[in-house]
Amino acid sequence: MDLVKVGQSYVDKIVTDTGIKVLLLDDITSSIISLVSTQSELLNHQVYLIDKLENENRDTIKQLDCVCFLSVSEKTINLLVEELGAPKYKSYKLYFNNVVPNSFLERLAERDDLEMVDKVMELFLDYDILNKNLFSFKQLNIFNSIDAWNQQQFLLTLASLKSLCFSLQTNPIIRYESNSRMCSKLASDLSYEFGQSSKIMEKFPVNDIPPVLLILDRKNDPITPLLNPWTYQSMVHELLGIFNNTVDLTGTPSDLPPDLIKLVLNPSQDPFYAQSLYLNFGDLSDSIKTYVNEYKEKTVKHNSNELTDLNDMKHFLESFPEFKKLSNNISKHMGLITELDRKINENHLWQVSELEQSIAVNDNHNADLQELEKLLTSQEFKIANNLKVKLVCLYAIRYELHPNNQLPKMLSILLQQGVPEFEINTVNRMLKYSGSTKRLNDDSESSIFNQATNNLLQGFKQSHENDNIYMQHIPRLERVISKLVKNKLPTAHYPTLINDFLKKQRPVSDLNGARLQDIIIFFVGGVTYEEARIINNFNLVNKSTRIVIGGTTVHNTNSFMTQVLELE
């Protein structure tokens, strides 16, 4: 399964018709499309004008055909009805990014007495495609209270997850974590809707190995989003923040030229990023060095023997700033890596990360406690408040049941160190959200603190470097998937929902020892880039199993702690 290919196939559908045209979008679809296409790609399909449907100041251009790619909402339909009443363009093709209710179609048809619309299509792209195996719904505030959905966000999640499955042409068996009411509600509503969508499901190809959607709850592994990651994409998100595949460097002390403040990081448009987004920091430095050297070689060659003879061509080259693309890309990554390095040193992340890993992986209370106290009170390393709170969170979760637990003492140290009380609250909220009684205790060896690799599948091993003390921890997800792929997840902890349509279509679904083929993993409460990375490694090695992963959002430590803090 390759989400980028899916996304591109949709873009192709939207812009495929010949002719000079205008593309109308809305807030939601413009960010969706920017993740899978570029302006120049759209230009190649003769899209000369891109605008928002809601912009009232658009010119009337009767010579242009119009293609619309829109989300399905009351607001969009109202705007469309208005547009069709007073059309600005020659004709309209309407593409929606999810299921269109019949009532909407009727309203549009009613208004189209000028017969301007010559195509209406439902595409199923109601989600953000971040990597070829990572998607996000970009939702925060999904909670009403602990383990209960905010109703509005729930409906959005439901719709987006449905569109994801439809886009992949899958009618999956749904598995979910039994200790989560949020997962269970999502799973059962989704299963019901799938059962009702037989008109669509009929059109999907049938596979001998049925696809599976696994719905997980973030609370069952609070450790992974709390650890400092050391691979490129994860680090950029952790330390600088990635939104819509864009990094905003506004306010960083480095002197950056204006065109390097907002950086697009899209693996399908940036070859260097594509080959290094999963590299650890050490390998990354080597990789950028090679990249710079290659560039130097290229430019030297150009200047010495190829360009000199052609004055006219040189003239062309100089007149177009776009030729600087390559050097721009180098400065972009140089800038990012420099900034990462600055942040690492500023926050003493080597020391912090070492302790994090030790807490997460070893069972060594006294040593960890000592080191924690040292870091919290250190005069030598000035560690930022949020990092201190994070360390105490890790400690609190790890040693919650330890007879010698010193959490109250740690909390009072935080207070002494001048950490604001509301920030300190995060620790207790974290325990309420994700303490030992809240987590799924499916079996002892798959505890979230385990480091052992024994029953992991091939492909996961590549994700961890045993000799790298900063990357020892293994996300719980790996153990879950290792069982899931072999179809050995216990139904007691991971109930199975088979929707009505599937039951009819496939009365017996005996896997007879076959491994699962297509798997969609969804994290209620947010996924991490680290988890996306291990999925990528898994996919590279296992040719017969393909996994895509996503969540209500993609977390870094800060966004995760904020989410927990905001829980009532």
Binding site: V6, L43, E322, R506, N512, G513
Partner: protein, 591 residues
Amino acid sequence: MIGRRVLGQVPNEGELSPTASPNGAESLSCPICNENMINLGQLNQHLDDTHTNNDPSESVNIGPYLEKDLKNWFRTKVVDRANSLHPLISSKLNTMDVVDNMGYFTISDSATSSAPNSTTNSRISSPGLETSEISRSHWKKPKGNDFCHLKECKRRLNIKNGIVNCRKCGFLFCNEHTYYRIKVNQTLQYDPLGGQFVRCCITCFTNKPFFNNFEGFALDDTKTFQELREKRLESDRLKTIVLEKRLRKIFAFVYDRDNPSKVNNSEVTNYVKQIIHWQTDNELNNCPLCFKQFGRFLMRKHHCRLCGEIRCDDGCSLDIPMNYLKQLFDQSPETNEQYDQNHPTEDDTIVFDKVSLRICKLCKNRVFHRRLFTQNRSSSTGIDDLLSTIRLVNIYKEKIHQLLPGFEEDLQRLQTIDSASNSNQILPTKELEDDEQFLKMLVEKRYKIMSVFNKIDKIAKGLKLTIDQNDTLLSLKKPLAEGMTIDQLKIARSIYMQLASFLQENMLKLQKVPNLTNKPSTENEGLSKLEIREYRDKLMVLQEQHYLINSMIDDSKKKRKFDDLKILDENLADIETEIQTISRKLGDDSF
């Protein structure tokens, strides 16, 4: 790291030697689940299909100690039990893959000849074991010197690596490349619902239909939409006809009299009340269209003269001069029967501007929507210019796409000639002449391409000028130059961007020509007639541009647009250098 099956490794210990003589099998049962088996071949396949952990990586991540433990586990749990059942089974288990393939001989010997005995029997006696239904007649026989059929693998097949037939395609593969399962039916076709799982190779697995299809699912609603629209339009048309009839009657009442100028609005209203249902005033508290409350903020009730219903005056109904209404109604190309052709229209504005008709939003849309729409189909010239630029550019680009590949091929030929002339110092005269001819043709081609590039470049530069000019104006929050709209500016930017990247992509290909132009010519010497012509053309274009920019500079000076001046000056300098370069190349031939 490559996964190796634990079972396949046991014989390496040298403790158990495979002795295959399957005929001795009596009644067997699976050592693991105790299911009854007809013969060894069947047990073999059963073990393979049901109990083999179909997992290349299972043992991969296990450290050396654990691996040993596992082997022990297998020996005690499986092998020992098997030994106690039947002396032969142990060897089967240990060399499963080998015997599996040897099973080809044994089973097919008895089964393929006419497939009567064991296979049919097993089907009857134990319906759960359908595996024997899948034919093995297509299995390739091992020749003792076999290699994995997978192109990328090709490893030698032996006890250690495994010798396994893919149940679907029948070729021989190593263990690692047959850890897959696929559902096939008796004709060996992939059958996702009706088939049964069999072991297969990676190629058969990944070639399953739809396996690599990542086209997003889409649902075409166009038909549904059209039907809905048709239904709606049908009923609309009927309503429209009624309204149009009424409107004609009203026009007739006003205009079909001797002195139409005497008619006033209250007469018209009285007439309308006779022909339509006039909604009673006290029926409503709110405007039925916008729900605003009547009586507050001067919201008064008004009657639409076409439908007779009550509307507010705040956007839901409008008083329209009768003559304007009639003009609009008559002139539309969509109304076939024109009302009252003979009536003189030239005095309408003078005579009738006092009489008007109040029409509500709904009725206006019903009767005039189409008419107004066709009338408004005007186009601004700015956009037409941009669109024709796009079309022109597309033609040029097409031309380059036609010319460039051939040119690149020729260049390759040139390189081979070059290397040939470098190695063999003496070439036959004939060939030399040919080469010269070829070179000449190449130069001609190059200039053809260059001239198209120049045209594109010219367009791009022109656009850049306009864009920069307007961007400056935008940043000063002034209206755009030459009546350009924001949308038009956006389109101009798009075209420019497209041209720039086109030049970037394709000009670099021309760079490979470097020495060509200078080889036959220093200065004008050696320029062909065609080259001279091309240069002259280019020169003319440049001089034209030069003139244009000069006049723009004058203009900007007059209007004190100093920001533009800077850009224009730069542009002028560029053009002047280029003119100089070309003039120098042309030398005496310049004009």
